[in-house]
């Protein structure tokens, strides 16, 4: 017990505990996915988020349930932190009809419109125009929501990136562009793909407030997210966050990682966002071993439940293969 009184009572401690909880959930979820992949219960392309959890955990805290989120194929963490139930994400990985996309999407195409979670897009840069459109609709209807659009540093090279920043700035649309700069697009290091590697600087050339943020620090991400969202709610127009982060695992399950040194990965592991927050909370007497153990077992329970429910989930009947090609009229 801490000298400063019982842990997890102050608002700050609560906030931190929640960030830690989300990051741990995402990591445990993905570690389990790796096991399930090795037993072939999960298939297809699977891109792990391990190392980058601070971004999802921090950012989602800054958004309200009415805000929209547009994501990429590396979106397990985004979906979970956004509140998409773990069981429906897991069932999707298993290709079950109980999955959030009825087993049709898989790892790369998680959707939960009830939570304004608009995917899950496996075309690099493909989500940006959609985010602009969602924000346009909100702006036209006079709604106060913002749309957070997540994408990687690789997307910055696509024409659509520039077209969308321009359009959002020109029309003063509430899009929060969130670039998860993990330094690599598959095997291509940022510096090998970009003439100017300061991405926040580039976004600012479109006339929008842009910040570079330590993406390995969940608190810093949450603070930057709050600031950006407040800026956008106060005066219309987009903002840009460059979240400097790192993925500890390979690009996908097929990647032999020939393009980067083991030493580099080890170096970045010193900034593991979970370890960093844990250490900070311990230093401030906000985290006890008991809390950590409790969090761990809470997560095991949730995960075990999600896996067994997913395993037990039904498959879509083959006769329904051609459903959802056109909208079903009642």
């Amino acid at each position: 017990m801490s000298r400063r009184g019982s842990p997890a009572t102050s608002a700050k401690a609560k906030h931190r505990t929640e960030l830690l909880r989300q990051m741990l959930r995402i990591r445990r979820f993905e570690e389990r996915c790796v096991e399930l992949y090795s037993t072939a219960e999960i298939r297809g392309f699977m891109h792990l988020y391990i190392g980058e959890e601070a971004v999802a955990a921090g950012l989602m805290q800054a958004l309200s349930p009415d805000d929209a989120v547009v994501s990429t194929y590396r979106e397990h963490g985004h979906a979970l932190a956004r509140g998409v139930p773990m069981v429906s994400v897991m069932a999707e990985m298993f290709g079950r009809v109980t999955g959030c996309s009825r087993g049709r999407g898989g790892s790369m195409h998680l959707f939960d419109v009830s939570r304004r979670f608009y995917g899950g897009n496996a075309i690099v840069g493909g989500g940006l125009p959609i985010a602009v459109g969602l924000a346009l609709a909100d702006a036209m209807r006079g709604r106060p929501q913002v749309t957070a659009c997540l994408f990687g540093d690789g997307a910055v090279a696509e024409g659509e990136f520039h077209e969308c920043l321009n359009l959002a700035a020109l029309w003063r649309l509430p899009v929060l562009f969130c670039c998860e700069n993990n330094l690599y697009a598959m095997g291509t290091a940022l510096a090998r793909a970009q003439a100017e590697t300061d991405l926040a600087l580039r976004a600012s050339s479109y006339g929008m407030p842009s910040w570079a943020v330590d993406g390995m620090d969940a608190e810093a991400v949450a603070a930057a997210g709050h600031r950006a969202v407040e800026t956008m709610r106060g005066s219309p127009g987009p903002c840009f966050l460059e979240l400097r982060t790192y993925r500890f695992r390979a690009h996908s399950m097929y990647d032999a990682e020939r393009y980067r040194d083991k030493a580099e990965v080890e170096h970045w592991k010193q900034y593991d966002p979970i370890d960093r927050l844990t250490a900070r909370m311990r230093d401030d007497g906000e985290l006890t071993d008991e809390t950590l153990t409790a969090l761990g077992s809470e997560m095991d329970t949730e995960l075990d439940g999600a896996v067994s429910e997913a395993q037990a989930g039904a498959l879509e009947p083959v006769e329904d293969l051609t459903r959802f090609v056109y909208t079903e009229q009642p």
């Binding site: 996309s101 087993g103 898989g106 291509t188 793909a193």
Partner: protein
Amino acid sequence: MTAVHTTYRDAIREALREALRDDERVFLMGEDVGRYGGCFAVSLGLLEEFGPERIRDTPLSESAFVGAGIGAALAGMRPIVEIMTVNFSLLALDQILNNAATLLHMSGGQLSVPLVIRMTTGAGRQLAAQHSHSLEGWYAHIPGLRIITPATLPDARGMLRPALECPDPVLVFEHGSLYNAAGDLDEPADAVDIDNAALRRTGTDISLITYGGTLPTTLAAAEQLAAEGIEADVIDLRTLRPLDEASILDSVRRTHHAVVVDEGWRSGSLSAEIAARITEHAFYDLDAPVERVCTAEVPMPYAKHLEDAALPQTDDVVAAARRVVG
């Protein structure tokens, strides 16, 4: 001449290596072709051998680097552009259709575009709708392009050379499920013909017409049919544009029955084109209507049982052939 044991993937790499070695105008560019070794490991090791000038990693900008390939081809180079999958080629569709396919015509014959674009196509690996479609039939719609689809090891090895010699843009579609196909291949390899379809099996009762990833499916169906006493011609189109109509019609005139197997969607597909040509030119040789086995008209689902149900399977080909032969 010796035979080496190899794979489809390695055969394509060998073809690339030979092209890079023999002609200094040839270079390879695309996303992750260098340091990563190619997203399907096709170009693995070529960076070390030929250096970053000729094995050129590009940023994620399909339209820009395909367009740059066109420009370089106009200026006398022989670029080989790799697009990871056909899905991403849609970001470069403007360059492919509005420039590569049309410059020769619009310039009154002044500008040839000797460009090779390679890409992966097809489903079967549970990659869901944004990584699994077979769109080569769309590209085969476009005059000015040559569309080739290697389905065998000799074709994987031998089609690149004539593609590079071709003065016009050639799009090479490599089916993702073929990369690990293994077998023996003669070395040094002969260039193969990219003008004519190949008869992969001969029979007297029915013509099974296919290409690319569905060739193995179709050959397996032909074996099953043979066990029932139905002998099939199996035609591998190889080149989807210009289409080798003569080979198709020759076969149909002998067998009087035809099934087209195409992993594209049925409506407005290459299979529709082939069926139409058979009806236009060999209607009175037919003993039954032409049937088609295609992918179900859905975006490709992730779940395996749904993906299997969507794709042409051996049993579907056998069943269609039985119906046609009656």
